[in-house]
Symmetry: C2
Subunit: 224 residues, 2 copies
Amino acid sequence: MAMSPSSADLKASTAEEEAYLHLQSALRCGRYKPGDRLIPEEIANEIGMSRMPVREAFRRLASDGLVTLRPNRGCVVAGLTVDEIYETFEIRSVLEGLAVRLAMPEMNAETFEELDLLLDRMERSGQSGSSEWVPRHQEFHAYIYRLSGRPKLIRQISALHLVIEPYMRIWFDYVTKPLSARQEHENLIEALKSGDAAHAEEVMREHILGTAPLLTEYASPARR
Amino acid sequence: MAMSPSSADLKASTAEEEAYLHLQSALRCGRYKPGDRLIPEEIANEIGMSRMPVREAFRRLASDGLVTLRPNRGCVVAGLTVDEIYETFEIRSVLEGLAVRLAMPEMNAETFEELDLLLDRMERSGQSGSSEWVPRHQEFHAYIYRLSGRPKLIRQISALHLVIEPYMRIWFDYVTKPLSARQEHENLIEALKSGDAAHAEEVMREHILGTAPLLTEYASPARR
DNA sequence: GTTTGTATAAGTGGATACAAAAATCCAGTG
DNA sequence: CACTGGATTTTTGTATCCACTTATACAAAC
């Protein structure tokens, strides 16, 4: 009952930060389900603080799109409709497309080696049967868009990855592993190697938009 | 000293909302300058409430990118460096490009008429010498990207417009009026009329990226 | 048996109080 | 005269309290 330094929460300089990280990780792995109401008092007790920092964490989560906040009726876990999932992929496709284009000058033997490494890791996690494929897949994409060197762009894309992670996990549970994933990502690397920025951008856009329909097909029927 | 229904704040169902709108409009028109420190207590007194809702408004403004929040050292008005302004335009270009592509099916005689109207209004506000050109210009763009019918996309683009508004105003002050603005936007309308979505997307992207260098050239030297 | 009203409980928004941290000021020192 | 260290002041972060709104449960009326 007494609060301990506790499991998942690493260094957080403020209570608000702690609450934010706690809730974020709980939402990412789907411990709270869309439509669930989050009651500040309960969560505050859970992590040993008062309601106030929790309230503030809610606001940050709301602007990440992870929860919905309505005056006088509290905080509910945001559920994406199929349309909203698809829209998120549309946005991701152009943002990550831009990132690829901007990252092109950074591509060299070293970065390609790293990409191969990340691709292998992704592949292995898929075989191991654990639910680690989704994070590994996100790391692969993250490595690329981080090479763009554009802080705001990176933050926006990361935020989108956060929002869709639970749905990616559900999807993964259905299909065990995206069958053509390795091929898809090898094509992507190929495009990066071509040195043609416009082409690589286009390939990334199609890669992302291509997976969207698969995902929405299996999307949880729960929504709002 | 007692708080009245007061000037600029329209209907706000909560105090936090009121604080948010108040600060947002103050920031948009540049009443607070980049680097200024915002002290919750002062602002709270100014609009007749306690620090608490103001703090929460800060968080929303922070995720809009209008202010920066650091633990234990408060809230400062965000100043964009030239690089950050440019980056914002890069992001805008792909997002508004996407919006145009998605909006293509909505284009018809009626919408073109509306666009001409908005263009005229923009032109007139430029001649009148007031600082109304920037909002009118934003309305022109907003009309287009709203036709995309994608709520999340619309929200993201709006957020970007918010961030760059003060810089657009500064820019406008320097050049009185973007000389080729009318021509630029007429080209845009032309591309929309062509019916070729990919082409229209490209024109929008170039239109936005084209204005970025002009803007950064005149950007306030103040930054962080 | 459904509707409507009302009492009660639960929860939210906001103000105030208090503690911890940072910034500021100022005297003393090298 | 710049610099260091510490006391003072300011500001931030969190907890607690209260008022008001919304949800729930139960009862009376149609």
